[in-house]
Symmetry: C2
Subunit: 433 residues, 2 copies
Amino acid sequence: MPVFLDATSADFEVEFTKLLNAKREDSPDVDAVVADIIADVRARGDQAVIDLTAKFDRLTLTADTLRITDDEIAAAIAQVSTEDRTALELAAARIRAYHARQLPQDEQWTDEAGATLGWRWGAVSAAGLYVPGGLASYPSSVLMNAIPAKVAGVGRLAMVVPTPDGVLNPLVLLAAQISGVDEVYRIGGAQAVAALAYGTDTIAPVDKITGPGNAFVAAAKRRVFGKVGIDMIAGPSEILVVADGDNDPEWIALDLLSQAEHDESAQSLLITTDAAFGQAVADAVEKQLETLQRAHIAGPSWRDFGAIITVPDLATAAALTDRIAPEHLELCVGDPEALSKNISHAGAIFLGQWTPEAIGDYVGGPNHVLPTARSARFSSGLSVLDFMKRTTIARMTPEALRAIGPAAERLATSESLEAHGLSVTARLKKLND
Amino acid sequence: MPVFLDATSADFEVEFTKLLNAKREDSPDVDAVVADIIADVRARGDQAVIDLTAKFDRLTLTADTLRITDDEIAAAIAQVSTEDRTALELAAARIRAYHARQLPQDEQWTDEAGATLGWRWGAVSAAGLYVPGGLASYPSSVLMNAIPAKVAGVGRLAMVVPTPDGVLNPLVLLAAQISGVDEVYRIGGAQAVAALAYGTDTIAPVDKITGPGNAFVAAAKRRVFGKVGIDMIAGPSEILVVADGDNDPEWIALDLLSQAEHDESAQSLLITTDAAFGQAVADAVEKQLETLQRAHIAGPSWRDFGAIITVPDLATAAALTDRIAPEHLELCVGDPEALSKNISHAGAIFLGQWTPEAIGDYVGGPNHVLPTARSARFSSGLSVLDFMKRTTIARMTPEALRAIGPAAERLATSESLEAHGLSVTARLKKLND
């Protein structure tokens, strides 16, 4: 059973703080192993990647077979059913339409001093997408990472996906094709991250690496950060549902379980103004767990990290929500828009009972790569901006320099940076000659 | 003397690659020390900070004197000259005006399926600003970090600045006041970063930490990343000037020296279409170094990492510039706008000979916290967005769910995530009842 809390009880603050601080993930310390793998790939390039793939994926490759060919991709994709393809294409179109609206504007203006100022956005030239192998190899994640990159204008998008024992995942390859991925390599682990960051004879280096992965992949991304850009390191998934009593307990139970089934470390929380409804949801969860295919995962997650919190009113719900800063937030209340305006910290908000979080995982349009572990306090989900960067622009006229240059000279002097000041002084002198 | 390269020579590619890969910074490995300091602050809070400040800054504090009081700030600021205050206020006004234009827009729309989608931007609730002590304690950096945070809408901005032997820096405190900093603590080092990230009895925790610092501060920021957000870890400063022969060699020499004087590891590069002009700049640098106050810093930087590269044309200059991806880029050519359009990777561009980079350090308006070490390929300078985060919004109507829900069910099934699918199925069933 999950923990039941009541926001009006004397020990609530202690219990709620305990819930917030619960450590849900033990990251194994693989940093030394990963450091060796990266050093090996930097030193031996393709051959290191080939040797490590033989060791970890039981797959013998050569430099010529690291890349999955277009013919192989076409043959794999031919196995995909029409229904799956249609669903994936609908998802891709909706994700593309949403992300296209995120494209930022360049700006340029001339101010009253005569200075022309502005900025210009540009895409990262080359990006790498890590896709896990095996059970966590999700075509939807390929769409969610690759489409924003291509909408941003990334010229070269290289994907790596391990294929243990050589088995290709047709839906993952179809998602890559639909998204416009340019190159696919059948490699994974820290060696794939190292190959993307530093390049090998066969794999050209990229500038940014995104995508989920296991502890080795996460450690490798941390290590190559600086040499290339990376996205956030995702923790276990979370959902918070805020619901009044006017909901179907079964729907809410399934929404909670759709996070719990991801991972034994996932967390599903319910805040409700109706204690009896909370109990009904708990009962509905137990009933679903009797038959759910992934009950062996969802059960432990719900038991160990789930919670049902009863609150006296929605204002309390909003305040607790901000302290949780959930990755996914469902607002199943009479006026979800109004409640959402009182909440500052959440990765994604799903408004009303007709918007199950699973819609957002696949076909809603917004990205499903979202900040976990309370990081919605300071970070955002993946977007087109993650594949772009901004260059600031400034142009002074002689008049503009005459107007604002003396202040720069003064500040340079106060910071004892003489050459800074002289670079302005020399120009002002010419103007005054 | 710096290295002289000619883009048309046979060994250019080898020499240029060597220049690109030159290791300019040896970061001492202070990670173990920093881990201990952070653990100490987490365990003992204020008392650990007090003990470490006594040890490193030779300053005896109590919990009551960690914070610099408003009266102390007022007394220190009273020492600032009118000229310095006026210059700082001009800089602040221009930085504020530039950054105000970066405030992003919320969006919301309803698509043809009937789904209401969008996003909402919000500010980080609390941010911490690290300001180095001693020689690198720059009031301009206070403005450049604090003003974007306040423009973003950060409610609580806490600044930490070590005051070795108890000496306050009046201009730094004035910059904090002008920028709207809410709290100032006289602490520094890894202990200050730990206090901001985890909080103590006296210092409430923040959500994001920005600002430059030494190796201990950088290591501490890396360690607390995840618990809080951080800005980039800045490397030594760089400038690339692209100039034709129609420039004053002395101006360009001073621009190059204004980076070189920051740090012996700084790098100043000149690309020119005119070999004789390149030599004239080299001569002008040597002449300036005879009298420059910081010649002991600028000289080694120029000698060890400076370079003058002669190119046959501006197209070659643009191509090399993208490979360098410089932090600061000056385009001192006849049509700098045209040249800038051929360049993809630079932190900040200064157009034309009347725009010395030093203007951007102080009063131009754009931020002077910029990506170093070629990271302009994938990252941007500090901006208002660094203190904001985006929450995505989705609302389905029953009709919208009927339209796109089946695709979500299909994809959930293909990913073996049964509860995801069932959360949609249960709702569609109700619609079809």
